[in-house]
Amino acid sequence: MEEGTNTKFTYREVNEDLINFMTKTGPRYYIILAVVAASAVTLFFLPWAYQIYVGQGVTGLNAPVYWGVYLVNFVFWVGIAHAGTLISAMLYITKTPWRRAIARGAETMTLFAIVVVSLFVFAHMGRPWNLYWTLPYPSHRQLWTNFMSPIVFDVFAIGTYLTSSAIFLYFGMIPDLASLKHNATGWRKKLYTILSLGWRGTDKQWLVQARATMFFSSFIMPLVVSVHSVVSWDFALSIVPGYSKTIFAPYFVTGALLSGFAGVVLMLSVIRWSFPVFRKYITETHYDRMGMMIFFLSLVWSYLTAIEVLTGFYADNTFEWESIKYKILTTPSMQLFMLMIFSNTLLPLVLMVRKVRSCASSMSAVCSFVLVGMWLERYLIVPNALSRKFLPWMWRDYCPSWVEVSITAGAILFFVTMFMVSIKIFPLVSLFEVKEDAGIPMEKEGH
């Protein structure tokens, strides 16, 4: 309880801050939202429609390199989704106090990141309108899914993750919606009344709520590890030299948490910068603790990266060696590899200094680099390994086309659009958990 208690605010203040933030929206916000939404449509949905109409040929994919930037983005966004679950579930169970103010934002981020993930599954497919064939549903023609396929594992992993994080997010929000409905008017009041499911805040309800949160947290916690392990098996279960590695599951999970934490820090910084009211809830303590996590994860990630390269080197397998040589010694990937090492291993070392950790702008800078580095990590695995498979005649390089670049950028904007709409409807900070920090009101003045 050592952190967070330095913040002195009353229950009323918390409620009013949130409701004011949600209802009092200036024209500037709408203009920015409109611009972002329009760019998301232009950059994401229009090129995608073009791709569906014309064919996958508009991408830069070719014969050996069948998995390109779409799958890179798929893995990247699953990674972004991971910090939310870790913060809300794992840190809840370990009763880590600093999670409270930032948990809701991270959970929201998780949910929308998975929505983006599912969009990339569609964008990646040759015939996306047949996606439902990957679900096991009764069919009179006795068609069934192939449960040996890692892609089917993926469908289940992502499906489970999407449902459980949505339920978790909503469930944790019920007491907040109930307290907000008293301050809200109009359609908001109706919406919150319905969604709060008759929450009155009795002792029994709180008890049930606490138990259920504990249950959900324990239920969701294995997903932090399992979802990204399953994603890594898409690659690790194949026999392609750059893919078939037993280290991939922990490597991907660590990378996912690293990029996820970086994403959360960046998101918090943008919110703090745009809405100063949140500065009292999201404090330097949070930055400090998040910085510690990122520093630790970066060390683990660097260790696993070294292992990945070194085991390939020791194995002395010609195919594996060729794949490593292409990854770290050939021109376009070599520079990307250097940049990745710089931003994921070297730069996070500055987080050793407490001053750097607790400063919002320096943390945001480091985290931006980490995000770029983590995207590059996936890029250096997914299309790069396919460029150097077994038969030298079929070695071919890959370069993303404008459609892929545009969809990649558009996905970020689409995520921002969803986030911007959501934070105006649902509380961005968990009210009741922040109030827990403030202490019992009877002992204080000014309630």
Binding site: G57, Y66, W67, W133, W144, I151, S238, I239, F390, W393
Partner: protein, 264 residues
């Protein structure tokens, strides 16, 4: 109780091998004699004509999107005048433990009772997983809806489907010819005789480098040929159990061709 458990275990064990059959009706096998291949690419053209694979054009070919189901890999070694050129025709190896089959989420590619690795075009959703997992890089994708210019649409083979945009395809060992032969054999209540089924590439090869037949039949041509000490299977260490068997090219010591082994 024990019996039931044993039955379940046995059944699961059967399913663990991607070719779910204990014994194939036929085990179609192609033998490629590399001593005879001179890299003329007649097989490539024959395959294109037989299987309705579209001609994608120069630009797309440059991007590596040529839709040929069989390709001749050419490896050049040494400097002029001591140049060695090696040709190796590569088509789908019809692996019995095919890596592509475990990848497909919807069973669009599976193993049939003839020991063939077949592709169901209509079931394909285009996740590219099979092509990614394939160590031989023989799978090809329909990147666009390919149009056939006016006289070319008349030459489509009526026995073979025309694939639509967004599906994966690959060498089928000319399954349409196998089907016809199987039907005829069934009507006459007999097995397919050796030499009754000939894929387009085998039929066309001018030097007779390709031989096709049933490996289950001990008297067939391929069964005799695989007893050759030159035989090897490509990337055998990956344990995919391919059905295409290569006969190593043997070069004379000291001649211009050099004496080392073929790439395997």
């Amino acid at each position: 109780m024990n019996d039931i458990l044993k039955r379940i275990v046995e059944r699961l064990r059967d399913y663990r091998v991607p070719g779910y059959y204990k014994k194939f009706d036929y085990h179609w096998t192609m033998v490629v004699d590399l001593d005879r291949c001179n890299g003329c690419e007649a097989c490539v053209v024959a395959c294109q004509a037989e299987n309705n694979t579209p001609v994608v054009g120069e630009k797309e070919c440059g991007k590596g999107r040529a839709l040929n189901w069989i390709r001749i890999e050419k490896y050049v070694e040494g400097e002029y005048p001591n140049v060695k050129v090696k040709f190796i025709p590569i088509m789908c190896q019809q692996c019995d433990k095919a890596p592509c089959e475990i990848g497909c989420p919807v069973y669009a590619t599976y193993h049939n009772q003839d020991g063939l690795n077949v592709q169901v075009y209509n079931r394909c959703v285009g996740t590219f997983t099979c092509a990614t997992y394939c160590p031989y890089d023989v799978r090809r994708f329909n990147w666009f809806t390919y149009k056939r210019e006016k006289p070319l649409d008349e030459q489509l083979n009526p026995d073979v489907t025309v694939r639509e945009m967004g599906v994966m395809e690959k060498c089928t060992f000319c399954i349409q010819r196998i089907r016809v032969a199987k039907d005829r054999a069934k009507d006459e209540k007999r097995d397919i005789k050796d030499g009754e089924v000939i894929p387009a590439c085998v039929q066309t090869c001018p030097t007779g480098a390709l031989t096709f037949g049933d490996l289950n039949d001990p008297g067939s041509m391929v069964s005799k040929m695989v007893r050759d000490p030159r035989k090897y299977r490509m990337l055998e260490e990956l344990n995919a159990d391919p059905s295409v068997i290569y006969l190593k090219r043997v070069m004379e010591e000291g001649s211009g061709e050099g004496g080392d082994e073929e790439k395997s």
